[in-house]
């Protein structure tokens, strides 16, 4: 594994961008370039690559903590953890292909979590600390390598999902967990209503659930933990045991399942887990025990107006993301003015000159 501290060069690049009033488009390997809005500035901007800033700085399995540089390829990091029978429990998607191997920094900046999320927690839940470069080109350290830390504001968690608009991630400390000793997936045939109610009911009973997904016909329930607990849980759930559990969940996590094989835009609807089936023209796949619904519309709206989709989902307490696919719509759910004002001021607080990824999240940021 490469061990290369590139923070000084990255800091210098930010200093230069500041002096020349340049925008920096932060990139790890480019594996998630599809995600987010197209950055606003194109004339006076350049790519800042964190890809060479690689390596594990500290890993002590007994402490349940790993600290690594942002450019560290995620698959390498996970391999190191697996050697010690540990894992990143939010099991993020990689979306890697060819040279574009997902990095830790990109994963945290996007705040992605896999099917385990509703039961184990999200990417931000596992972040313990970070070192960043802010818009003043200062290297700052927040949080740390301990499980509990309430000294100062939780800036490290603020960075998760901020798409690099508040700073360049240098190093990230994460809580890790033991790999489950056993895992098994049960498959049952049922209607969408039944699927939603079962996923929620089981999540409210003491079963070792670690994933729950409905593909339109079949309900998939994964159990993880002590072998005896998994066996008895599977008995309670019923249905048939899935032969290749691992590759199924990988296909859901990496959006490679048949459902996603499509050129149309892919919408992500984050909704309360117990929301009944959402009537929309097109097809849906339900993950995260009901809380994440992937949606592919039948056809594009003629006037490119997605107001009614935003409204339908907001009315049930959720929000919409245009996850993949280019159409003339904002990628992220519009914010009410009161929240947008806080966002603008936060951006100002971290990146007063607007250097980092302008427009990638919202046009105003």
């Amino acid at each position: 594994m490469i061990n290369n501290d590139n923070s000084k060069n990255l800091q210098q690049a930010v200093q230069e961008a500041r002096a020349q009033q340049q925008a920096l488009l932060i990139e790890g390997s480019g594996s998630k370039a599809f995600y987010g809005n197209t950055p606003a500035a194109t004339e006076n901007s350049r790519v800042l690559s964190t890809g060479e800033h690689q390596g594990i700085i500290n890993y002590e399995p007994k402490e349940l903590v790993i600290t690594a540089r942002s450019g560290t390829p995620l698959h390498e990091l996970q391999a190191v953890l697996a050697e010690q029978q540990q894992m990143l429990a939010f099991k993020p998607p990689l979306f890697s292909s060819g040279d574009q191997q997902a990095t830790l920094g990109g994963t945290i900046a996007c705040g992605f979590s896999g099917p385990r999320r509703p039961y184990a927690g999200s990417a931000r839940d596992f972040v313990l600390g970070s070192r960043i470069i802010n818009g003043e080109a200062e290297i700052l350290h927040f949080g740390g390598e301990v499980m509990k830390n309430v000294a100062g504001y939780d800036v490290s968690r603020l960075m998760v999902g901020a798409l690099g608009t508040l700073g360049v991630l240098l190093d990230i400390s994460l809580k890790v967990l033991p790999l489950p000793e056993a895992e098994q997936t049960q498959v049952l045939e049922c209607s969408v209503q039944e699927a939603i109610s079962r996923m929620n009911q089981w999540a409210g009973s003491p079963l070792p659930l670690s994933a729950a997904c409905y593909d339109g016909a079949l309900l998939y329930i994964r159990l993880s933990g002590a072998p005896s607990a998994v066996t008895s849980g599977a008995r309670r759930i019923g249905g048939d045991s899935l032969d290749d559990s691992q590759s199924f969940w990988q296909s859901i996590r990496e959006l490679q399942h048949g459902f996603f094989k499509n050129d149309k835009p892919l919408w992500r609807l984050a909704v309360p887990a117990d929301s009944p089936a959402i009537e929309l023209p097109g097809k849906q796949l339900i993950d995260w025990g009901g809380a994440q619904r992937w949606y592919i519309a039948d056809k594009q709206n003629k006037d490119n107006s997605y107001e009614s989709l935003y409204k339908t989902i907001a009315d049930i307490g959720g929000h919409v993301t245009l996850f993949k696919g280019a159409i003339d719509a904002g990628v992220f759910h519009p914010l009410p003015e009161s929240l947008l004002a806080i966002h603008r001021r936060l951006k100002q607080a971290f990146d007063p000159q607007g250097i980092f990824n302008p427009g990638r999240m919202y046009r105003e940021l």
Partner: protein, 482 residues
């Protein structure tokens, strides 16, 4: 604007009983759970509706009067310590559980609802609210959010930040905003994460949507006695290495064991130098399997005795000893000072040895009670505020413990917050550039600096003074005992 003018204006939208301005009536509000620091507020107000609260905050905004929010005031860092020129905003009347949704496993509650009341209300659905600070019978969920409170089960089930889905917050301008959502995430920056642990500096929480978890089928506690504190500390890492995340993993030293035993008769071995309480939970089969493995690890790593709770009553008794450790130690001495550093687990032994040396140096006894699973120490320094110089010695001793925590790679506060108490030590943990980033973040939420000013983030001059004088030499003008 003077006190009576303000009081008159408040009467336009608050009943007279919700405005407290007489000195004697204000007395109960002069401190929180850290009574060594006391101050009288300008006024205390106890609104009952969100609209009233918004009007209070709007008025204060217009008149440039600071606001200090307060829940049950069980906080241990002086975070709710009033300011002489500020309105103390009591949230005790926001005490309703608005909704429990058993299918979605959520509870919507007002900020003044007690932590334990949520679990009690959810119990009939087989659900509970996981974070359980020792003060859970009294502390409120709003305060838990402000401090990002933990408890004895947070290694496995997380802190407040991991168990809150959505917050309704009143901004310093008096506007009502929502952070987070009933879904598992929300659009934009993670303002929800930022609010947790922000100690009333960024907004006033007026409604909380918390996550509920299914009650585990079974829980079992093992009690291990050790004749050496370091051995006990080392066995903690070995349990983790076994691939088991205990639901709770707590440690107490000899002084704490004896105090707890005298107080609640928990059945602890009195002659032990340290005990470890390890709870495993899950399905019936899982608990049997894990208890056996934990038993083997503890025995292999030198426990002189390992007991498994024979029944639920004994399990609760084992925990009662731990949960009442603070008041139990409180009986040993007129006053005690509770510290809250967190250190990497591997440093536990070293840090405990160093604390016992410091205890000799300062001539003040110390009892150690802590969340060993996540390295969060709670040394309780015993002192008598009526003996001249003892409070100062206790503070200096505490300051050294905090600096030691930072030195070994930890933090000055794991769950009690910085508040008023540890503001100087922020200068030890953070650089001036980092503190300046915190100040700018605060301004993004509170441009006029009206929410709980003077807490948590020190001003540059504080740090330069603190660093020049050197650690442990700062003085406070505190004079009371609890």
């Amino acid at each position: 604007m003077n006190k009576s003018e303000l009081s008159n204006k408040l009467k336009h939208f608050l009943p007279a009983a919700a405005i407290i301005s007489e000195t004697e009536a204000l007395r109960p509000y002069e401190c929180d759970g850290l009574p060594a620091y006391r101050k009288m507020p300008l006024l205390a107000v106890l609104p009952q509706t969100v609209e009233q609260l918004q009007q209070v905050v709007k008025l204060c905004y217009q008149e440039n009067i600071p606001v200090v929010a307060r829940g049950a005031a069980t906080g241990l860092s002086g975070g709710a310590l009033p300011l002489e020129n500020a309105v103390l905003l009591g949230l005790s009347r926001f005490n309703k559980i608005l909704d429990i949704n058993p299918l979605a496993r959520t509870a919507r509650v007002q900020p003044g609802v007690r932590n334990l009341a949520i679990s009690e209300a959810a119990a009939r659905h087989g659900l509970y609210y996981a974070p359980d600070p020792s003060s859970q019978i009294a502390c409120t969920i709003g305060g838990n959010v402000a401090e990002n409170s933990g408890g004895v089960h947070c290694l496995k089930y997380g802190l407040t930040v991991h168990n809150v889905l959505e917050l309704k917050v009143v901004t310093p301008e008096g506007e009502l905003v929502t952070f987070g959502s009933a879904a598992l995430d929300s659009a934009g920056f993670d303002l929800l994460a930022l609010m947790n642990g922000s100690e009333g500096m960024l907004g006033i929480v007026v409604e909380v949507l918390v996550k509920l978890l299914p009650k585990p089928e079974r829980a079992q506690v093992l009690l291990a006695a050790f004749d050496d504190v370091e051995k006990a500390a080392d066995s903690v890492g070995e349990i983790i290495a076994e691939g088991i995340i205990p639901a709770g993993l707590e440690m107490m030293d000899a002084l704490a064991i004896q105090a707890a035993e005298d107080f609640v008769h928990a059945g602890y071995p009195r002659d032990a130098k340290a005990i470890l309480l390890c709870e495993v939970d899950g399905t019936n089969e899982e608990v049997s399997e894990h208890s056996k493995r934990v038993y083997d690890v503890l025995t292999a790593y030198g426990a002189s005795e390992v007991r498994t709770a024979r029944d639920e009553a004994e399990r609760l008794r084992f925990w009662q000893g731990r949960k009442s450790a603070f008041p139990a130690v409180g009986r040993l001495s007129p006053d005690y000072y509770c510290m809250d550093g967190t250190v990497p687990r591997k440093q536990l032994g070293t840090v405990l040895t160093r604390i016992s040396q410091l205890s000799e140096h300062y001539q003040l006894p110390v009892a150690n009670v802590f969340h060993a699973g996540d390295g969060n120490l709670h040394p309780l320094i015993l002192y008598d505020a009526n003996t001249p110089g003892e409070l100062k010695r206790a503070e200096d001793f505490g300051a050294e413990i905090l600096e030691l925590s930072v030195e070994v790679g930890g933090t000055i506060t794991g769950e009690h917050g910085v508040g008023h108490e540890k503001i100087h030590h922020m200068c030890v943990q953070f650089s001036e550039a980092e503190l300046e980033q915190f100040r700018r973040l605060k301004v993004a939420f509170d441009p006029h600096g009206l929410l709980n000013p003077g807490k948590v983030i020190p001003q540059p001059k504080h740090c330069s003074e603190y660093r020049t004088i050197g650690s442990g030499s700062h003085t406070h003008s505190a004079s009371c005992s609890h």
